[in-house]
Amino acid sequence: MSTKKSCLIIDDDPDDQDIFRLCIRDIDPDMECNALGDSVAAVSMLSEGSFALPDFIFLDVNMPKLNGVECLKTLKARGAAGKTRIYMYSTTSEAAMVAQCNELGASGFIVKPASPVELRQILNSILNSANTSLENSTQQ
């Protein structure tokens, strides 16, 4: 059983993709990190299985055509998320939207920080706490 973790960021902004991947690489150089810019294509690839489900998906909210909330809804509705933890990843947060995402089964809502140091901290705690809980679930 491979211990190598994988994550996927879906964000139409190439800068944000790069910043995210940079931070992930700094935290865990072994983690496989992919980026997709087109949410419609990403959702169909994931639900058809042509793109292997990663351990984590980070979903930008404000995307053209299919926004992050719609992506989350579609993935969950199709049962295409499996054990994958999905985090929302947005410039701004709005209480109603955060609540909606929680209800739809998102594992968390991250407001994109303005500092890479901060982003590394957030990602670090997510990946580590997820580690623990995943271990817990395998023990049972």
Binding site: D13, P14, I19, N62, K112, A114, S115
Partner: protein, 513 residues
Amino acid sequence: MNGQQVEQGADHFSRIKDVYKKMVEEIQDYAIILLDKNGIIRNWNKGAEKIKRYKDTEIIGKHFSIFYLPEDLAIQLPRQLLMQAEETGRATHEGWRKRSDGSRFWGSITITAVHDDDGAVIGYCKVTRDLTDKKMAEDQLRMSEERYHQMVAEVQDYAIILLNKQGFIENWNAGAEKIKGYRAEDIIGKHFEIFYPTADRESGLPMRLLHVARTSGRATHEGWRVRKDGSRFWGSITITALHGKDGTVIGFTKVTRDLTEKKLAEDKLAAYTSELEIQNRELEQFAFVASHDLQEPLRKIRTFAELIRENFNDEALAKNYFVRLETAARRMSELIRSLLNFSRLTRETTHFEDVDLNEILQDAKQDFELLIEERHAQIISGPLPYVSGNRLQLGQLFSNLISNSIKFCQTDPVIRITATTVNGNEITDAAPGVDDKQFFKLTFSDNGIGFEEQYKQLIFSLFQRLHGKHEYAGTGIGLALCRKIVENHNGYIDASSRPGQGAVFNIFLPCRQ
């Protein structure tokens, strides 16, 4: 015996005559006077003294015309009454009389002729009643009734109508004429449902209101009513049942007020309020998306600045981050500029003049001269109309649509611009009430990448983009701006397309503002 009997009889008779005389003398409520055939007073009772305030000693021997007023004497009323009594046996009269002190009373009199055994008139009996109190009360009542009728008749601001128990009009006042336009002679006898619009008549509203008034005493309603000339007014009505002595309904009064102005003011206020609410929601949304979209480049600027600090020694990497930082800063300026443009576009500041759209197109072509040459773009247009509008805003509209068509095109752009005239009913999603209005329809069609049908509404939303930022640059404000400009001109904009088939934008501007 016989003689005694006669004597007894005569005695008895004379006693009765005495009693009778006394009775007449004692009567207090009637003046009973004996006149001789010339009208001279020969006898006087207590009632006469009480009513006319003469003592018998003062009055006996005087002519009875002493009780009459000068105007009655002038027409010889006392003489005529006597003559009538002589000829027909009896005369009656009612009128003002005067007392000894000069004060007046309302007398009701009967003069009866008294005949001798041969049938010749030998005198008259005059009976007078003092009906002053009754007369005053009657006069009071009559005057009050007259005043009341006058009041109802002359009230201008309320239509006050009397209906019979089936709802037919029996009475009509000045206010009813003023409000409903019918004259009394046109309308009395008609049914009151004539004031109701056809739909209300068909649904039975008038009869329902009568029924409510009949069963609960009163019915009120507000709604549109119809005048004689067919125009409408907003009536506030109250129908009240009128009851007879036995408690049954004998008719109705209907009071109507014309509250059209109030109603229109209320409607206007409601429309204004809802407009404000819409604007408020738009503003909230605007603030939210604006802050969101402005955050984004700012966040990148800070991120790249930090990354540059972390990698200060790696010159190539730092240089790359600098370029991206500058791009983000440029994008920020661009966004702020467009947002300013957008927020300045309020309806209140829109100044209208006659604008030649051919000129507007010419100007736009000049602005894009370089881009058009670079992209080998063609703009083909027919003659365009003059419209009443804002020159700057219409210029912006043309620029945005043309630059959009050039931007979202992967071959040599071909843009066709045509104009026709259409009726309001040919516009989908047009506001109610513009069906008969004439609109200029401007059509911009291109051979660009187009978009999927499902996004045809979404593309006009602020900051809504259909493409990733790496594919096509832009702020997501352009088409939102177009829609706002068209709305400022009381017009409509729609779009249709299929991916790869080009896009068509239709703009409808009113021929008359």
